[in-house]
Symmetry: C2
Subunit: 180 residues, 2 copies
């Protein structure tokens, strides 16, 4: 990266909340001009998300209630990383558990950072093809409904605001723009 | 929304961290099967982000150090909502402060939810055209470098992973897919 150095340097770091799957830190930080400020942020284990396509172009989506926003969302299958588990393995596991599909062909699309102002979360995006139906096996406390929609219908839902989940918007539009 | 009711209902809510711009809640929740669980999430004021286009197709981007991930990111101009301030006014203010540009034409693209598993943040996406150069006026503690790049170059950076910020990926690909 060219241009001036914009780096901020930690002076001290405090864990102000340790939750079940994320932690919150509050750091004193040295700014580029030498002054001090405070940066608060979430430490997240990271996640995977999957654009899973049938041969006929249908895409696997899920309807899921998202408590922080108190409503249902339509989203692509996704799940948090487990410590030490390779991303592709997490992606295979989550797709199978949530949708009941195994996929033969896996291609990494890239990584997406969801909330760079206050979280270190990265979501690894994968494209899955060659789908075979197996058995859905939801985690305890996980409730969702699988949808299998033509890709054009999913794009229409992005366009008209029925799909607003960032990972889903980015991943579907990525596949639309750059192909499979 | 059709299909079975997936709603989760709050039993009790506790604010476990009150920070400078976000708060963290930890709620006891009733699941659809009647069991209880805990949901932790960030309460965020919301934000705006702007795809600002020159007549010749160049787009305004910013290079900014993002402390949670300890590196620079290339992103579209954005800022947090102020209480009671209309979204479009926030968008106009942030574009001017961060880039020094005023825009005559404003079109709302839609809303994007960045981290629906653990945050209620929504980012209102706006398209700004008819740019006039004024004076940049960064906030205290804000350091960034403005870039003005051909739209195709920005898309190439999405494709090859130089741009991974979710709001930026989603907004640029939206404009690519559905036009201006």
């Amino acid at each position: 990266m060219t241009g001036k150095d914009l780096s901020e340097h930690p002076i001290s770091s405090e864990e102000v909340y340790a939750g079940g799957f994320f932690r919150v830190h509050r750091d004193r930080v040295r700014l580029p001009d030498g002054k001090e400020t405070v940066r608060e942020y979430v430490r997240h284990p990271g996640a995977v998300a999957i654009v899973a396509l049938h041969e006929d172009g249908r895409v696997l989506l899920e309807r899921q209630y998202r408590y922080p926003l108190a409503r249902d969302f339509i989203e692509i299958p996704a799940g948090k990383l487990e410590a030490g588990e390779p991303h592709e393995r997490t992606a295979r596991r989550e797709l199978l558990e949530e949708t009941g599909y195994a996929a033969r062909d896996w291609t990494r699309i890239g990584v997406m950072h969801t909330a760079i102002g206050y979280s270190d979360e990265g979501i690894e995006l994968w494209l899955a093809r060659g789908l075979d139906k197996r058995e859905q096996a939801l985690d305890e406390g996980e409730f969702l409904e699988v949808l299998e929609l033509p890709f054009a219908d999913a794009l229409a839902m992005v366009r008209d605001g029925r799909i607003t989940d960032a990972k889903t918007v980015a991943a579907l539009l990525w596949v639309r723009a750059f192909g499979t």
